[in-house]
C-alpha cells in the first residue's frame, strides 16, 4: 500500500547537511504492521513523516498504491491524505484544548463531507468513540481534552485519525507517554483495529519489548543514523538479532523478571553511549565507532542491506555479519556471499 523507495531526507541547519534519513526502503500493506525501532535521533520520526506525506523526500520516492506522491493529481493526493493518518506521541499536545471531543471529530467529517446531517454526524461520532473503546459515547462526547486522562486523550487522537477511514495509521511513539497498563489497553485496541478493519500500521518505538508485542505478526525494521540496519519478521529480529546494534538495543531493554535480568549481564555492549552527530557522520559503517565487532574494514565500507547469512528472512546491513570472511573490499564481495549459509 505504502512504499518508500530509497527515500532520503537531508536537513540543512546552519549551513550543515544533516542526512536524517538515507536511502530507506520499506513497504506496508493493508492489515500489516511494520515496526520501526532505533534509539533517539535515528530517523524514525522523519521516516514516518515521509510516509505520511508531511515532508517530501529530498531523494528517492514515496508511493501510495503504486503512485509516486510527487506525481499525484489533486484528487489522488486527497485520497492519499485521507488514507494515511498519523497519531502523535504526546496526548497533551495532539488535541486542540479548545475543542470538545465531538468538535474534534466532527471537523474532518464535515470538511470532507462525510456526514451531512446533524444526526448522521452524531452517529458517526458515537461510532468512532465506540471503536476506540470510549463508551458509552455520551459521557465523552462533550468533554474537553483537559477533562480526559492521557489514555483517553490518546484514544480520541486515534478516533480522529479514524474519521476519514484511513488505510494506514502511523503511530509515532504513541504509547510511550502512557502508564504501563493504559499502554497495553491502547495497544490491544490498535491490534483489534488492524485485525478487524484491516488497517495497516507503521508503529514507532524505541522499546523492542513493545515492538515484539505489537508487531509479532508483522515486520520490524531497526534504524540507526537514518539507515535501516536490520529488517525482518519481528519474531526473528527479536529472537535472533543479527546486527550488533539490534543486539545492543535488545540488551538495553530492562527485563521485568529479576532472574532474567541477573543472567543477562553477559553479552556485548556498546563502546560508546552517545550517538554521533548527523553533521559529522563516521566514515564507512556509521556504527563502527560504537560497534563491539568493528573491524578495520568497517571504517571504509558502507554496508548495504543483505540477507543475513544465518536467517533467511532477515536483512542486515553489517559487513562483519554478512561477510564474515572479511575480504577487505567486502561491499562488493559481499554480493557473492548472497545466499551463502554459514
Amino acid at each position: 500500500m505504502i512504499e518508500l523507495d530509497g527515500a532520503s531526507q537531508v536537513f540543512h541547519v546552519k549551513g550543515k547537511d544533516l542526512p536524517a534519513v538515507s536511502d530507506v526502503s520499506l513497504s506496508v500493506g493493508a492489515g500489516e504492521v511494520l515496526c520501526l525501532v532505533g534509539e533517539s535521533g535515528s530517523g524514525k520520526t522523519t521516516t514516518a513523516r515521509l510516509a505520511a506525506g508531511l515532508a517530501a523526500p529530498t531523494s528517492g520516492s514515496v508511493r501510495y498504491q503504486g503512485r509516486d506522491l510527487a506525481e499525484m493529481t489533486r484528487a489522488e493526493r486527497r485520497a492519499y491524505r485521507r488514507a494515511v493518518q498519523y497519531i502523535h506521541q504526546d496526548p497533551y499536545a495532539s488535541l486542540n484544548p479548545i475543542r470538545s471531543v465531538r468538535s474534534t471529530l466532527s471537523i474532518p467529517l464535515r470538511r470532507h463531507g462525510l456526514a451531512r446531517s446533524g444526526a448522521e454526524m452524531q452517529q458517526k461520532v458515537d461510532e468512532l468513540l465506540s471503536t476506540v473503546d470510549l463508551s458509552p459515547p455520551e459521557s465523552y462526547r462533550e468533554k474537553f481534552p483537559h477533562q480526559l486522562s492521557g489514555g483517553q486523550r490518546q484514544r480520541v487522537s486515534v478516533a480522529r485519525g479514524l474519521t476519514l477511514s484511513p488505510r494506514l495509521l502511523i503511530a509515532d511513539e504513541s504509547t510511550s507517554m502512557l502508564d504501563v497498563s493504559i499502554r497495553v489497553s491502547l495497544l490491544n485496541m490498535l491490534t483489534k483495529l488492524r485485525k478487524e478493519e484491516g488497517v495497516g500500521f507503521i508503529y514507532i518505538t524505541h522499546d523492542l519489548a513493545l515492538a515484539k508485542y505489537f508487531a509479532w505478526e508483522g515486520r520490524t525494521a531497526v534504524m540507526y543514523l537514518g539507515r535501516i540496519v536490520e529488517a525482518g519478521p519481528t519474531p526473528q529480529v527479536i529472537n535472533n538479532p543479527q546486527h550488533p546494534y539490534t543486539k545492543a538495543l535488545l540488551e538495553a531493554v530492562p527485563e521485568p523478571d529479576p532472574e532474567l535480568s541477573r543472567q543477562k549481564k553477559a553479552g556485548g555492549g556498546l563502546l560508546s553511549a552517545d550517538i554521533p552527530s548527523l553533521s559529522a557522520l563516521p566514515s564507512g559503517c556509521t556504527f563502527h565507532p560504537r560497534c563491539p565487532l568493528a573491524e578495520d574494514r568497517c571504517r571504509e565500507i558502507i554496508p548495504v542491506l543483505r540477507t543475513a547469512p544465518g536467517a533467511d528472512a532477515q536483512e542486515v546491513a553489517c559487513t562483519v555479519v554478512t561477510d564474515p570472511s572479511g575480504a577487505p573490499d567486502g561491499a562488493r564481495s559481499a554480493a557473492q556471499a548472497d545466499g551463502g549459509a554459514p
Binding site: 524505541h206 519489548a209 519474531p235 538495543l249 531493554v253 527485563e255 553511549a273 550517538i275
Partner: protein, 374 residues
C-alpha cells in the same frame, strides 16, 4: 550494559568527604535502618479549605546499602513520598503526620520532620541526596555544571574550600559517572545531552557521598540506550559508594533490575512490599500482579498482556475501603467496607518481609498466559 572499554574508574574513593571513613564491609541488616518512615501522611492544599491526601500513612524501613524500588501507576504518590523524605514538598504540600527517622553514619538518629531549616540544609545532600524526575531541568540554566557543583561543595564545607579541591572533587565525581570533567565542568546544562545531564546530576548527588540516594524516575525521559548506561552505572556506583537507594519508577522492569526490594503504592498507600523476587514471581496483591502482567518482556515467550480496567481513583474522592476495589475482580463487600492493612505473608529479618494489603491475597495467583512461543 557498561561499555567494554570504560574510562578508568577511580580506584580510590572520593577524597575529602567528611564522612569518608573507609567503606567498611557491608553493614549487616541488623543495624539501624538509614531511613525509617512511620505512618507518613502528606496532603496538598487544593483550595481554601480543600485538601488532597496524597500520602495516607506510609511506613517502611531502609537499611544501609540496600536498595528499594517504589512502583505504582502515575499519581499514586511516589514523587510525593520522595519529596517528603527530604522535606522538599512544594508550598502547598504539607506533612500532616508521621515521622521520618534518619540514622547517620555516627549512629545519631534524627527525626527529619522536626529538623530546623538550618539543620535540614546541612543534612540535605551531605547525608541524603535526590535525583529528580525532571532531570532535564534540574540544573540552573545560567550556571555551568562546574559552578553548580562548586556551590554544593562550598555550602557544605565546614570552612573555606579551595579551588583546587573543588576541581578535584567534582572532577572525580564526574569521572565516576564516565563523564569527562574537562568538558562537562565548563558546560552549561543546555550544552549537554539528556543522558549526560542525568549522569552529571547523579555525579552531583555523589559529591558529598551521602548515605541515602533517592532517585525519582531518573531514566524516564531518556533514550533506551542511555537509560541502559545510567542503570548499569547506578548498579556499579552502588557497589562502589555503598549508599542506600530508593528508586522510584513506574517501569517495573527497571525496578526488577535495580532493587533488592520493591514497594508497590496505590492511591497514597503501600499495598505490597517484598523482595524483588517475591514481587515478581509471586505478587500477592491483585494490583501488583496486574501491573506486572501489563509489562511486555523482550525475552522468551510472548505472553498475553492485559490492562487493568478502569482508572486510578481521584485522591480527593476516595471510596471507603480498599482503594483498588472498584477495579478488582476479587473485591468483595468486605473490601469495600474497610481499608485492609498490610498483612505479613513471609516474615524475614530486616525489611525483607513480604506483605500485602489484600484480604484475598491467597486468591492471587500470578501467571502469564503465553500467546506465542519464542
Amino acid at each position: 550494559m557498561p561499555a567494554t572499554t570504560p574510562p578508568p574508574t577511580p580506584s580510590t574513593p572520593l577524597a575529602g568527604a567528611a564522612d569518608a571513613a573507609a567503606p567498611g564491609p557491608a553493614t549487616p541488616p541488623s543495624e539501624h535502618p538509614v531511613l525509617s518512615a512511620k505512618d507518613l501522611q502528606v496532603a496538598y492544599r487544593t483550595g481554601k479549605d480543600t485538601r488532597v491526601r496524597a500520602l495516607r500513612g506510609v511506613s517502611f524501613d531502609l537499611y544501609p546499602e540496600t536498595s528499594l524500588a517504589l512502583v505504582g501507576e502515575s499519581g499514586c504518590g511516589k514523587t510525593t513520598l520522595g519529596l517528603a523524605l527530604l522535606r522538599l514538598l512544594p508550598t502547598l504540600g504539607e506533612i500532616t503526620g508521621g515521622s521520618i527517622t534518619f540514622t547517620g553514619e555516627d549512629g545519631r538518629r534524627r527525626d527529619v520532620t522536626t529538623m530546623s531549616a538550618g539543620q535540614l540544609r546541612r543534612w540535605r545532600w551531605s547525608e541524603a541526596a535526590m535525583v529528580f524526575q525532571g532531570a532535564q531541568n534540574a540544573f540552573n540554566p545560567v550556571l555551568t555544571i562546574g559552578q553548580q557543583m562548586a556551590d554544593t561543595l562550598r555550602d557544605h564545607a565546614p570552612g573555606r574550600i579551595g579551588r583546587r579541591e573543588i576541581l578535584e572533587r567534582s572532577g572525580e565525581a564526574l569521572r565516576s559517572v564516565r563523564l569527562e570533567p574537562r568538558r562537562v565542568l565548563g558546560s552549561y546544562p543546555h550544552e549537554l545531552s539528556g543522558g549526560m545531564k542525568q549522569r552529571a546530576l547523579i555525579a552531583t548527588g555523589l559529591l558529598l557521598r551521602p548515605r541515602l540516594l533517592v532517585l525519582d524516575e531518573p531514566t524516564t525521559a531518556l533514550d533506551i540506550l542511555t537509560q541502559r548506561t545510567v542503570i548499569d552505572l547506578l548498579a556499579e556506583l552502588r557497589e562502589e559508594f555503598r549508599f542506600a537507594m530508593i528508586f522510584i519508577s513506574h517501569d517495573l522492569a527497571l525496578a526488577a533490575e535495580l532493587a533488592d526490594r520493591v514497594v508497590t503504592m496505590y492511591a497514597g498507600k503501600v499495598i505490597e512490599t517484598g523482595t524483588t523476587q517475591d514481587i515478581f514471581s509471586a505478587p500477592k496483591h491483585p494490583y501488583t500482579s496486574k501491573l506486572i502482567n501489563a509489562v511486555p518482556p523482550v525475552r522468551g515467550d510472548l505472553p498475553e498482556l492485559a490492562s487493568i480496567p478502569g482508572a486510578p481513583p481521584s485522591l480527593a474522592t476516595l471510596p471507603p475501603g480498599c482503594a483498588f476495589a472498584p477495579r478488582c475482580e476479587l473485591a468483595t463487600d468486605a473490601c469495600r467496607a474497610e481499608e485492609p492493612e498490610l498483612i505479613t505473608l513471609t516474615s524475614r529479618p530486616g525489611d525483607m518481609t513480604h506483605a500485602a494489603a489484600c484480604l484475598h491475597h491467597e486468591q492471587v495467583h500470578h501467571e502469564r498466559k503465553v500467546i506465542a512461543r519464542a
